[in-house]
């Protein structure tokens, strides 16, 4: 997928913005607060209908305006043109148009325009709690496998229902494992099985990609891998029976806490550096390199599965890595994929002799017309 043009109306600091990108490397530079990240944010909106920065959709509207609009013109690997338009107004909410037709379900756009965002905020994947790492793997799988997306959404909804029921039982002082709970558990078990199966399949093949990418991007002579520590740690054959037994056995405890204390929603994902958890041993730099490798691998992995090139959005790459690493990455991805990278300092490229012609670079100085 390649982004050809992007048009913005009343989006953050833009009144009207129009950008034409080239198919390889695009470098967006400018001082702080000139709207570099905003461009990446707009593309992220078109891909996933939301921002990668925190905050509500209304926060993105330019001051004193009522709406914002984003128009993107893409071409896919088969040279077919795809237009995506996302509008948000304070009164009417959000609307998404694919090739000028409004989508009934906005989420139908997800997976159509695959993008990978790497920003300083995504560092939490290697440093933060288990939820963020689970989301990382869930997002990959959701984009490439509809069965997983459905199973995951349904599983979460049934966990929610079960927890409400648990609270009701506690209020009524019921603690018998009855047919009603058993029914909900039966449904949960089926979805959980799909989740467990897909996660372990995904991680196995994802690791192959990760190892390759890590070798290319770093100079560390260490093996990296993602490992899943399932909450129900048994082989798939016995999964359903063991999960069923655990749900029943922990039922009284679940009532006490008002939530379900067993199942794949509590799986742990470990990032192993050598054979140890990076959260405990990783240096600042190692965290950063691993994060970049994870994100690159995510892109390649999704590509392999959906047969469409992803667009890389690299926000402030130089703030995360040293120049040599950055250059290596840009040379690598910039040739394979369309890449948009933001930086406050473009002179670094020149200083290190980055060949703009050879790598087909287009530069954008912000604010527009400033360069």
């Amino acid at each position: 997928m390649k982004l050809k043009t992007l048009k913005l109306n009343y989006f953050r600091n833009y009144d009207n913005g129009f950008f034409e990108f080239n198919d390889n490397l695009n470098i967006i530079y400018g001082d702080n607060g000139t709207g570099k990240t905003t461009l990446l944010e707009a593309i992220h909106f078109l891909s996933l209908t939301k921002s990668f920065r925190a905050g509500s959709d209304a926060d993105v509207i330019k001051n004193k305006q009522d709406y914002f609009q984003i128009f993107g013109q893409f071409t896919n690997s088969k040279k077919k043109e795809i237009s995506v338009n996302l509008n948000y107004s304070r009164h009417e909410g959000k609307k998404v148009f694919l090739n000028k037709n409004e989508l009934k379900k906005k989420t139908d756009i997800i997976g159509k325009i695959p993008v990978i965002i790497l920003s300083p905020g995504t560092q939490k994947i290697t440093e933060g709690g288990p939820l963020i790492r689970r989301n990382f793997i869930d997002r990959i799988l959701a984009q490439i496998n509809k069965e997983y997306l459905i199973a995951l959404m349904e599983y979460k909804k049934y966990i929610y229902q079960r927890n409400i029921l648990l609270n009701k039982y506690r209020e009524k002082r019921i603690n018998k494992y009855d047919k009603y709970i058993e029914t909900i558990d039966e449904i949960l078990i089926d979805y959980a099985y799909t989740i467990q199966r897909k996660r372990s399949e995904c991680i196995e093949s994802f690791n192959l990609v990760l190892k390759e990418v890590f070798k290319k991007t770093s100079h560390f002579n260490k093996e990296v891998s993602v490992k899943i520590n399932p909450n129900i740690n048994v082989d798939l054959e016995n999964f359903k029976n063991v999960f069923r037994e655990k749900l029943a056995a922990k039922f009284e405890k679940d009532i006490l806490f008002g939530r379900t204390g067993t199942g794949p929603h509590l799986d742990h994902l470990l990032l192993l550096f050598g054979d140890r958890d990076i959260r405990f041993i990783g240096s600042h730099g190692e965290h950063k390199i691993l994060l970049v490798s994870l994100k690159m691998s995510e892109g390649i992995y999704i590509e392999k599965n959906i047969n469409e090139k992803v667009i890389f959005l690299l926000d402030d790459l130089f703030a995360m890595l040293d120049v040599t690493h950055c250059m290596n990455i840009l040379k690598e991805v910039g040739q394979q994929n369309q890449t948009l990278v933001t930086t406050a300092d473009i002179t670094a490229f020149k200083k290190y002799g980055f060949d703009f012609k050879k790598y087909n670079v287009k530069t954008f100085g912000l604010p527009i017309g400033f360069s």
């Binding site: 509809k146 049934y158 079960r162 009701k168 009603y180 058993e182 029914t183 909900i184 039966e186 449904i187």
Partner: protein, 197 residues
């Protein structure tokens, strides 16, 4: 401040309690009643009262009826060895219109819904169990929503031990639809539940 006469305002408030009727529609209905002859209004009021007085639930199947047991439960020509379980009386009417089902019904009066606090004791499930003696087949015709599916699974668990055939109506494409516009979940069910020609 409202300048409407008090009695008219009361009527509007009452009418706006109907499902799908908002303030504006209620106003139009109220003025319609006001402009029409008194006899019409009386007939309408009587119809409402009659419905409440005459109609009750059948003690066997919980269908709405003027008699107890209802016409269907007392019809000896129907197949008394098959029960179709539906959510509401309206669902039963829809199936009756097809004329293709000749068995009995059981109206649950809702579905299990943890979010809305509806549990097994809030539905007509206790009365269903004694009815199952001598029954050969139970057919589920419950809306394929998340709560509907939970209810279906729950009931089939209760019934299965009794050696009765348990089935559900087919899920798939409605007549006259274009396959390209069908959602993926429906299509998945349609392919799974394909029938031999």
């Amino acid at each position: 401040m409202s300048t409407l006469p008090a009695s008219l305002q009361i009527l509007i408030d009452q009418l706006s309690r109907f499902p799908g009727v908002g303030k504006k529609s209620a106003q139009r209905l109220a003025f319609f009643i006001l402009k029409n002859p008194r006899d019409d209004a009386v007939a309408m009021a009587k119809a409402i009262i009659d419905v409440k007085d005459r109609i009750s639930e059948c003690s066997q199947c919980h269908n709405i009826s003027e008699d107890d047991p209802c016409d269907i439960c007392s019809d000896l020509k129907r197949d008394h060895s098959t029960i179709c379980i539906v959510q509401e009386s309206m669902d039963m009417l829809a199936i009756e219109k097809t004329g293709r089902y000749r068995g009995l019904y059981h109206v649950l009066g809702g579905v299990l819904s943890p979010l809305n606090g509806i549990g097994p004791n809030d539905l007509n499930i206790d009365d269903l169990m004694p009815r199952l003696d001598g029954i050969k087949e139970v057919i589920f015709a419950i809306n394929p929503t998340r709560d509907g599916e939970t209810t279906l699974l729950y009931l089939s668990k209760l019934i299965k031990n009794k050696g009765i055939n348990v089935s559900r109506i087919a899920q798939g494409l409605p007549m006259g639809i274009d396959i390209e516009f069908a959602d993926e979940l429906t299509l998945t069910h349609a392919i799974k539940g394909r029938t031999q020609l």
